[in-house]
C-alpha cells in the first residue's frame, strides 16, 4: 500500500520536474529525434565513424563562434560580423603564410606566429566594435553590420579575389589532424585506444561533477530533481559520451579540432556559471540599469565580450581555412546566420539575460546534423535553407509560447 503511493508520488514528482524544465528536455529530445530520423533516412550512414568525424569537422567553427555569440546575446547585443570576420582572418593567415605579391617569400611566417597574430587581430577588431557599442551606444546591430561589409571588402581585397594556398601541414593539422594514439602499442588493430581512454575519462569526470553538485545541492536542501531522473539523465550522458568515443575510436581517433572545441565548451561553461565575469554578463543582459547602479562596469564588459567574440571568430576562421587548405574570398559567408540560429534554437532569449552553453552546443548540433543529414539524403541547398529557417522559427515560437502560457 505505502509502496504504491510512494511510487505515485515519485512519478508525479518526475512529471512536475520535467514540466518545470521542459525547455532543456525538449531541446535534447529534439536533437535525439533528429539524429534517429536521419540515421533511418540515410540507411545508417549518419552514425558511421567517418560521417560522425565529418559532422564534428563541419560544425567545429559554428560551435566555436556560438560560444562567444551566446555571451553577446545574453548581454543583449548581436554580432552580425562574425562570418566575414572569420573569413577576413583566414585571409590574413593566407597572406602571412603563403606567397603573395606584397609579401616576399623570405618573410613568410610559420604556423605558431600566424595563429597568435590572427587571434590577436580578431580580439582587437572585436574590442574596437565593442568600444563603439559601449562608449557611443551605437546599436551592435549597426556596428557589426558595418563591420560585416568592411571585413568582407578587406578580405576580397587582400586575396585579390583568388584562393591562397596551400598551407603548411602544421597549419592544416588545426582542423584535419588527429591526436596520435598514445596507446597504439597495446591497442587492437583498427581501434584507437587513446580515444576510448579519453572518452571514459571525460565521462567519469562529467558524472563525478554532476554527482558532486547534486550532493552539494542536497546538503542545502535544494535538490529537486527526482532520483530516477537524475540517474536516467546521467546514464544517457554516459551512453552518449562512451558511444561517441567508440565511434571515434573506430575511425582515425580524436580530431585535434574536437579537443579544441571540447576544451572551449568546458571553459565557457565555467565562465558562464562560475565566474564573476559571467555573472555580470547575465546581470547586464537581465537589467543593464540595475547592473550599472550596482557598480558593474558595463562598458568594460561589453568591450570584453566583443573582444572574446572577435578572438573566437578568428579561431573559427583559422580552422575553416585549415580545413579547406586555402584562404578563399567566399570564406565565412553566411556563417553568422548559422551561429546566431544555433544560439536561439539553444534557448537564448532575444531580450537578453537568458541562455546556456549546453543549449547553444545542442542548438549548433541540431543545425549541424540537419545540414549533414539533408546533404546525405540529397536535399538541395535551396530546400535545406527553407527547412532550417522553419526549424529556427519553430524553436523560438515554442519557447515563447510555453513562456507565455507560464
Amino acid at each position: 500500500m505505502t509502496d504504491i503511493s510512494s511510487k505515485a508520488v515519485e512519478s508525479t514528482d518526475i512529471l512536475r520536474f520535467v514540466k518545470a524544465n521542459i525547455r532543456d528536455y525538449a531541446l535534447l529530445l529534439s536533437l535525439l529525434a533528429i539524429m534517429v530520423f536521419f540515421q533511418i533516412a540515410t540507411n545508417g550512414i549518419l552514425f558511421t565513424p567517418l560521417n560522425m568525424t565529418n559532422i564534428i569537422l563541419q560544425n567545429s567553427y559554428i560551435v566555436i563562434m556560438a560560444l562567444g555569440m551566446l555571451l553577446i546575446i545574453v548581454a543583449g547585443h548581436i554580432d552580425l560580423s562574425v562570418g566575414f570576420l572569420s573569413g577576413f582572418v583566414g585571409a590574413i593567415a593566407g597572406v602571412l603564410m603563403v606567397t603573395n605579391p606584397f609579401w616576399p617569400a623570405e618573410l613568410r611566417m610559420g604556423t605558431l606566429p600566424t595563429v597568435v597574430i590572427c587571434l590577436a587581430a580578431g580580439a582587437a577588431i572585436g574590442a574596437l566594435q565593442g568600444w563603439f557599442v559601449a562608449r557611443f551606444r551605437i546599436p551592435a546591430f549597426i556596428v557589426t553590420l558595418a563591420g560585416m561589409l568592411i571585413y568582407r571588402g578587406l578580405m576580397i581585397a587582400m586575396l585579390s579575389g583568388r584562393n591562397l594556398g596551400p598551407f603548411p601541414s602544421s597549419f592544416q593539422a588545426l582542423s584535419n589532424g588527429y591526436v596520435p594514439d598514445l596507446f597504439a602499442f597495446v591497442a587492437p588493430a583498427g581501434i584507437n585506444l587513446f580515444a576510448l581512454v579519453v572518452g571514459a575519462a571525460v565521462t567519469g569526470l562529467v558524472l563525478w561533477s554532476n554527482w558532486r553538485s547534486r550532493v552539494l545541492e542536497q546538503a542545502h536542501g535544494m535538490a529537486d530533481e527526482p532520483m530516477t531522473l537524475f540517474f536516467g539523465r546521467n546514464a544517457l550522458i554516459a551512453a552518449a559520451f562512451l558511444g561517441f568515443s567508440w565511434i571515434m575510436a573506430n575511425h582515425k581517433g580524436l580530431p585535434n579540432v574536437l579537443i579544441t572545441m571540447f576544451s572551449l565548451v568546458a571553459l565557457f561553461m565555467f565562465i558562464t556559471t562560475r565566474t564573476t565575469f559571467g555573472r555580470r554578463v547575465y546581470a547586464m543582459g537581465g537589467n543593464e540599469k540595475a547592473a550599472k547602479l550596482s557598480g558593474i562596469n558595463t562598458e568594460r564588459i561589453t568591450i570584453m565580450i566583443f573582444a572574446i567574440m572577435g578572438a573566437l571568430s578568428a579561431l573559427a576562421g583559422l580552422v575553416y581555412a585549415a580545413r579547406l587548405n586555402s584562404a578563399q574570398p567566399k570564406a565565412g559567408q553566411g556563417l553568422e546566420l548559422d551561429v546566431i540560429a544555433a544560439c536561439f534554437i539553444g534557448g537564448a532569449a532575444v531580450t537578453g539575460g537568458v541562455g546556456k552553453i549546453t543549449g547553444v552546443v545542442i542548438g549548433a548540433f541540431i543545425m549541424g546534423v540537419m545540414n549533414n543529414g539533408m546533404g546525405l539524403i540529397g536535399v538541395g541547398i535551396d530546400w535545406q535553407q527553407v527547412i532550417k529557417g522553419a526549424v529556427l522559427l519553430l524553436a523560438v515560437f515554442l519557447d515563447l509560447y510555453y513562456k507565455n502560457k507560464g
Binding site: 564573476t276 547602479l293 550596482s294 557598480g295
Partner: protein, 509 residues
C-alpha cells in the same frame, strides 16, 4: 445647478492596498475644481478611473456624466464623451509638428489621404484660441514646455472638450507661463467648459479654483467652496495632512556622533539640457548614527541629488565636494562611490534595483561579487550562505533564495535590494522612497532595518514623499524644493504643516 460630473462611492483596490475608498467628487458646469492632496493620496488614481485608464469593472462605484451613467472601457471611450485628461508627462510626439500632433489619430483625411490644408487651417484656429503664436508646422521639440502644454490643450479643444482634467500642469512651467495657463482656464470657464485642476501649488488653487476637493489616504476628507468665502492655504493644508501620528514607527536608541557624510555646494545640470540647472548649490551633513530625511514634492530634485552624488548616475556639469569621515571622497563613478562607502537604494526597484529574471541569491550578491569569490571564481557555497543570511535577517518571505525576484511582493523585493546594499558594506546609505508601494507590515520592518543601521553607526539618508514617515523615522529633516534645500529642522520640531509651508513659501518668494 445640476452637476456635469458625479463620481459616487468610487473604491479601487490594488493587491494589498486600498488606493481609493468611497471617494465622491462632484463637478458643476463651468467650474474650476481643484483636487489636492499629498503624494499618494489617490488623486492620480481617481483621474485614471474617471478617464477609463482603469476600465469599468476594475473599480466599484458610479460615474455619472451629463446625467448619464457611464461605463468607460478605455481612454478613447471617455474622450468621445468630452472628458479629456492632460497628463503631467505630456503625450506629444517630439519630432512631429504641432499640426500633426493635434490631429494625431483624428487626421483630417478622406479614405486615408490627409488634407494638410484643412489641418493647417484648423490648427491655426485652435492655436489662436489658446493664445499660442507658433506656426502649425513647428516641431514640438523646438518649443518650450509651457507652449507644449498649450498644444496639449489645443488638442483637447479639437476633441470638443466638455471637462478638461489637468494633472500638475504648471509643475514644469515658470511664473509667466503658469499665469497664462491659469488665465486660459478662466476663459474656458466663461465659455462653459469645466476643468479639474490637480496641483500641489496651493497659491494657484486660491487664485482660480471655485471649489476644492481634498483627498487623503484614498478618501475624500473635505470639499471647500471658495465662491462663498475665501479659503486660506492653511485651511487646505490642515485638511491635507490633518491626522494623528500614532506609533507606527519602532523606537530607536542611536547615539549621534561626528559628521561622516558631507556634501558642499552641490550643483547638477540636466543630462540632456545642459543649461537647465536641476540641483542648485545643496549643502548636506549627516552624522554617525543619524537618520536624515529629505522632504519635498515630486520633481523637487531629491532623486536627482542622490543619484548625482552616487557616482554621477544622473546629470552633467556636476560641481561641489563630498567628504566622507572628514576626508574628500572621490565619487566620480559608481564603483568609486561604492569604494568610498556609499550605497544608493533606488526609488524604482524594478527598473534600477533588481535583475527581475534572476533569483534572490544572484541579486543579493550583485553589488559585491568580490565578497563571495576568489580570483574571479564565485564560491557558490559562500554565496548561498550570504543569501540565506540576509533572507533570514531581513525576513524575506520566499520559498528559497532560488525564487525569481519578479515573483516576490513589493516589500520583499525591497528587502532584496536592501540586502544587496547591506552586503556591499557601506558607511553611508541613501534610501530613496524605501517604502513606496509596500504594505504597512513591511513598512514597519523596513523602519526597523533603518533603525538597526543607525544603531550600527551608519549614516542614513531617507528620501520620502510620505511626510509622516519622514517625521517618524528621521532625526533631522531637510526640505527640498526646485533643486534647493529651502529649510532644515530637527524632526522633533517639524510638523507636516511646517514642511508644507516651507515649500509654499519658497514658491512665493
Amino acid at each position: 445647478m445640476q452637476p456635469i460630473l458625479e463620481m459616487r462611492g468610487i473604491t479601487k483596490t490594488f493587491p494589498g492596498v486600498n488606493a481609493l475608498e468611497n471617494v465622491n467628487l462632484e463637478i458643476l458646469p463651468a467650474e474650476i475644481h481643484a483636487v489636492v492632496g499629498e503624494n499618494g493620496a489617490g488623486k492620480s488614481t481617481l483621474m485614471k478611473v474617471l478617464s477609463g485608464v482603469y476600465p469599468h469593472g476594475t473599480y466599484s462605484g458610479d460615474i455619472v456624466f451629463e446625467g448619464e451613467a457611464r461605463k468607460f472601457a478605455s481612454i478613447a471611450d471617455s474622450e468621445s464623451t468630452g472628458i479629456i485628461i492632460i497628463h503631467q508627462e505630456l503625450a506629444l510626439v517630439p519630432l512631429l509638428s504641432i499640426a500633426e500632433n493635434i490631429f494625431l489619430g483624428h487626421e483630417t483625411a478622406h479614405y486615408g489621404v490627409i488634407n494638410w490644408f484643412e489641418a493647417f487651417k484648423r490648427t491655426k484656429a485652435l492655436l489662436d484660441k489658446v493664445g499660442l503664436k507658433e506656426h502649425p508646422n513647428t516641431l514640438i521639440t523646438n518649443i518650450g514646455t509651457g507652449k507644449q502644454q498649450l498644444v496639449e490643450i489645443a488638442k483637447a479643444l479639437n476633441k470638443k472638450v466638455k471637462l478638461l482634467i489637468l494633472d500638475e500642469p504648471t509643475s514644469s512651467l515658470n511664473e509667466t507661463d503658469s499665469n497664462a495657463l491659469l488665465a486660459l482656464l478662466k476663459e474656458f470657464k466663461a465659455q462653459g467648459i469645466s476643468s479639474i485642476l490637480i496641483t500641489h501649488k496651493l497659491n494657484e488653487v486660491s487664485k482660480v479654483a471655485d471649489r476644492i476637493t481634498v483627498l487623503r489616504d484614498g478618501m475624500t476628507v473635505d470639499t471647500l467652496d471658495a465662491t462663498r468665502q475665501e479659503v486660506s492655504e492653511d485651511r487646505i493644508i490642515k485638511a491635507m495632512v490633518g491626522r494623528e501620528l500614532n506609533d507606527r514607527f519602532p523606537p530607536r536608541s542611536a547615539t549621534i556622533g561626528e559628521p561622516v557624510f558631507e556634501v558642499k555646494n552641490w550643483s547638477v545640470h540636466h543630462p540632456l539640457h545642459a543649461d537647465r540647472q536641476v540641483i542648485k548649490g545643496v549643502d548636506l551633513v549627516v552624522r554617525k548614527g543619524e537618520v536624515v530625511g529629505i522632504a519635498g514634492l515630486m520633481g523637487s530634485g531629491r532623486t536627482e541629488l542622490a543619484m548625482s552624488i552616487f557616482g554621477r548616475a544622473y546629470g552633467q556639469k556636476i560641481s561641489g565636494e563630498v567628504k566622507i569621515n572628514g576626508k574628500a571622497a572621490d565619487v566620480s563613478t559608481i564603483p568609486r562611490a561604492m569604494e568610498a562607502g556609499l550605497a544608493y537604494v533606488t526609488e524604482d526597484r524594478k527598473t534600477f534595483g533588481l535583475v527581475l529574471i534572476d533569483h534572490i541569491k544572484h541579486n543579493v550578491t550583485l553589488a559585491n561579487l568580490e565578497g563571495v569569490s576568489k580570483r574571479m571564481v564565485v564560491d557558490e557555497a559562500a554565496e548561498l550562505k550570504v543569501a540565506n543570511k540576509y533572507r533570514k535577517d531581513l525576513a524575506i518571505r520566499s520559498s528559497s533564495v532560488f525564487q525569481t525576484t519578479v515573483n516576490l511582493s513589493g516589500g520583499n523585493q525591497q528587502k532584496v535590494v536592501l540586502s544587496k546594499w547591506l552586503f556591499s558594506g557601506p558607511g553611508v546609505l541613501i534610501l530613496d522612497e524605501p517604502t513606496r508601494g509596500i504594505d504597512v507590515g513591511a513598512k514597519y520592518e523596513i523602519y526597523g532595518i533603518i533603525n538597526q543601521l543607525a544603531e550600527a553607526g551608519k549614516a542614513v539618508v531617507v528620501i520620502s514623499s510620505e511626510m509622516q514617515e519622514l517625521l517618524g523615522i528621521s532625526d533631522r529633516i531637510y526640505v527640498m524644493n526646485e533643486g534647493r534645500f529651502v529649510a532644515e529642522m530637527p524632526a522633533k520640531q517639524a510638523t507636516q504643516e511646517k514642511i508644507m509651508r516651507a515649500i509654499m513659501k519658497s514658491w512665493e518668494g
